[in-house]
Subunit: 503 residues, 2 copies
């Protein structure tokens, strides 16, 4: 901002009548300290709010004006509205009593990283946009690759490389498009309708979406059934049969999504055995470890990635379990050129000597968008602030608390564990009682979930797998301690009692 | 985190030997204050750094270890490395002397909004994930719609609606997929190869990428030539001819991207006249106002959106010119159902009474990914903290400074303005001298750009349009004042003198 027109009206927000400056460093300092205190106090008091928002649809529309203000409002006024109008509409994902979906794991270190990322506002679309943005991302992706004991074929220090995306969806979309174009370059774009992609009926819904976006015909998206017996893992034999049928009918197998830790029940597909089947057909194999992949930094979970050298790409989301705040998804690929061939563009206004010489990575060619923030900063702060050993202990501690909860459930004859626990998710439900049908059991469990969440003291979510409605209890919110887990179980038992009395 | 195993080694970073807590509010408070001071000091001293990073490819790899640390490092250590290792690799987009690409505009208000967005870490994939996230986004999108005088057909208060995306790329991709599926539902998915999309040779490269991702055959992406004579705007007649040829040959016109403020020269395509042509063929018309659209909050620029009621969607990026920090792109659509039909999924584990009843917006069905941050907060803070009148003055002030620069260029006979200025971008170059060919002029201007940027005192970028290499000078960095612009011109003149002496 330069000098304002002379008829400019000064306000309490303009610090100086001569220079209306939206980024005065001292003004920013004062206000940002206030915002930091607001968040620190929010964390301190987070248990005083109902975990799940109790707001009704449309609650906010009626509280806010229909048009923006013409003149400035003070930070204090806005923060008061955040407290009074927004907080009642927030479900507190960071509450220690939040056990829904996959919880969001966060940390002071990532918070600092985010402040710096925002503050620099450096754009890493190409190396030249800010060399540090690109180079730190390369370093951090290799660091995490080392922690996961990935083969050199996925590392910049080897022949591959990695990138930080916002979400798994973008990671999967970019790999599908790379795989698609590799095949279409051979068989001709007019054959796009022949391409078939594979996953299980437990694969995340975003896979389906990404395939559709990429122009894969919806009728060619195979969702192969799994079963309780196999703990909802995709069987290599089932995959082979489906592929064979497609090949026989002249279709072209393209892509397989293998999941390490499915969203419903944290099922783990057998990477090595599935890759063996897929490799015979030259199928691009992607491993989606959005949640479960994070645990593989611990040696005891690393076997879930056995066979990883046989796949083409792997993604996992540190915002789910490595303390990173949303949105942070890491993708490694064996052959970055295939991604760049599919997503690369080279407009004149972004050309520069370094990118033209091919000596640097241009991350805009690895993603859907052009602009990109200083994405690796949060992860770099987390890895350095805690160190590998503490991060492994963090995973183990969450699992340990899930084991505690599992034991409590098992100790109560009214309940059952529906699927064996693998990580920090416990899938459980009120048992089907003799003489009652399954829909009664479902309604009982639904009622229990509603009742538990309406207390505001705990927040859980559900799923339905193989026709079974079950409750999901995932330990993962950063503030959760064992005492919270024990208290959550007390709330659940209390609510069971109120239901049983009613029915 | 719960209690660590008993053999856990305490470190300076663990505040308490019993509870290793990654989110202790007092620890976060202390550290975050330090980070805020780091950024406030960075802004204060930003002019002391070379604007464009002088780093060489690979500079960082050699400064950082190859593996992450096993044990914690202190915040002070990490911040020292940020200062010593990262800052030399950063091109300072927020420097008042940054005039490259489109600058990133930021503000104290957006910084506060981002701290809260990160702090809450609330996930708005569906309304139930955090009602305030969805509802504030709806309110803010309508507010900005009011500021742009959009017809009710684009507003939630009417029959349309808006969404905050990260980048224009995602906005365009989601609308192309919606348009594609609308047409394929009628003509059959096997006809995807017949779909044709339109833009000009000035349309942003991301349009091409988005079309390819969506499975549009690359040979069906029309890049219609523009000319200096028409100031690089797409001519409705040219569009009509290309469409007619496609229709004649049995192809199906699908999508048109109209740009208000192209990246190379801020050319403005005539929205109304182009929409008239496109509407005859039932083509989805998208207006990309990534940069120029922001100016349309001022009545004097609003005519650029005349005819907007005839298009299907509009996007613009407040991170470019409305003080919002990256990444913030607003998309309005007339028929949200078409987006949801194309991108919607409804997995069991995310079902809930409100989304099932259809009474609320599920933003995950408007985008590529599932997770979404509290995206509207930054924009809400900006609109409230400054008010509409000040935001209009902010746009005008940047334009005024560009006019100042334009005058300075015009006053020097060695230079010429290559394309008339529309907003705050000035496209200029050293004139072609009598007796010298155009490649000499190009090399002279290239040399000038290199020389100017290597001073570290100013940062500019270039483009080539209609074969003409030119320098781009965009006023837009928040800290820029008129004095900086005048100083930048001095630097440019100084460098011309050094070159002229050499050649």
């Amino acid at each position: 901002m330069g000098s304002p027109p002379s008829n400019f009206i000064t306000t309490p927000e303009s610090l100086d009548s001569k220079h209306f400056n939206h980024l005065n460093p001292e003004d920013l300092r004062t206000k940002a300290h206030k915002a930091v205190d607001f968040i620190a106090d929010y964390y301190k008091n987070i248990e005083s709010y109902p975990v799940g928002s109790q707001a009704q649809p449309g609650y906010l529309k009626n509280r806010l004006p229909k048009t923006p203000p013409d003149t400035p409002e003070s930070l204090d006024t806005i923060l008061k509205d955040v407290q009074n109008d927004l907080i009642p509409g927030i479900t507190h994902w960071l509450s220690p009593n939040f056990y829904g979906y996959f919880p969001a794991s966060v940390s002071s270190a990532a918070f600092i990283g985010e402040i710096l990322c925002t503050g620099f506002n450096a754009n890493g679309f190409k190396w030249v946009g800010s060399p540090a943005v690109t180079e730190l991302e390369m370093v951090v992706m290799d660091w995490l690759g080392v922690m996961l004991k990935l083969p050199k074929s996925f590392m910049f220090s080897g022949s591959g490389g990695g990138v930080v995306h916002s979400t798994t969806s973008e990671a999967i979309l970019s790999t599908i498009v790379a795989a698609r174009d590799r095949v279409l370059n051979e068989i001709g774009i007019e054959n796009i309708g022949k391409l078939v992609v594979y996953g299980s009926d437990q694969t995340h819904s975003t896979y389906n979406k990404a395939c559709k976006i990429a122009g894969i015909h919806p009728c060619n998206i195979r969702s192969i059934p799994t079963s309780v017996k196999d703990e909802f893992a995709l069987k290599p034999d089932s995959l082979r049969k489906v592929i064979e049928a497609d090949v026989e009918e002249g279709r072209v197998p393209l892509f397989l999504c293998v999941t390490v830790g499915t969203t419903s029940t944290t099922a783990v597909d057998p990477v090595k055995d599935l890759a063996e089947v897929a490799n015979k057909y030259n199928i691009w194999v992607h491993v989606d470890g959005a949640y479960g992949g994070n645990a593989c930094i611990c040696p005891e979970y690393r076997p879930f990635l056995d066979g990883i050298e046989m796949v083409d790409s792997l993604s996992l989301s540190p915002h789910k379990w490595l303390l990173c705040y949303a949105e942070c998804c890491c993708l490694w690929v064996k052959n970055p050129n295939l991604i760049v061939n599919a997503l690369g563009t080279n407009p004149e206004y972004l050309k520069n000597e370094h990118s033209e010489s091919g000596s640097v990575v241009s991350y805009m060619d690895w993603q859907v968008g052009t602009s990109r923030r200083f994405r690796p900063l949060r992860l770099w702060f987390v890895l350095r602030s805690y160190g590998v050993a503490n991060l492994q202990n963090h995973i183990r501690s969450d699992v340990q608390m899930a084991i505690t909860f599992e034991r409590l459930v098992k100790s109560d004859v009214r309940f059952e564990i529906v699927v064996p626990r693998r990580f920090s998710l416990v899938c459980f439900r009120l048992k089907q009682l003799n003489g009652f049908d399954s829909s009664y059991t479902e309604s009982l469990n639904k009622k229990l979930l509603e009742r538990v969440n309406s207390t505001g003291r705990v927040y859980l979510t559900h799923t339905v797998v193989a026709g079974i409605y079950m409750l999901r209890f995932v330990v993962g919110a950063t503030l959760t301690e064992e005492g919270h887990v024990i208290k959550a179980w007390e709330v659940i038992k209390e609510m069971v009692n109120t239901i049983v009395n009613e029915f």
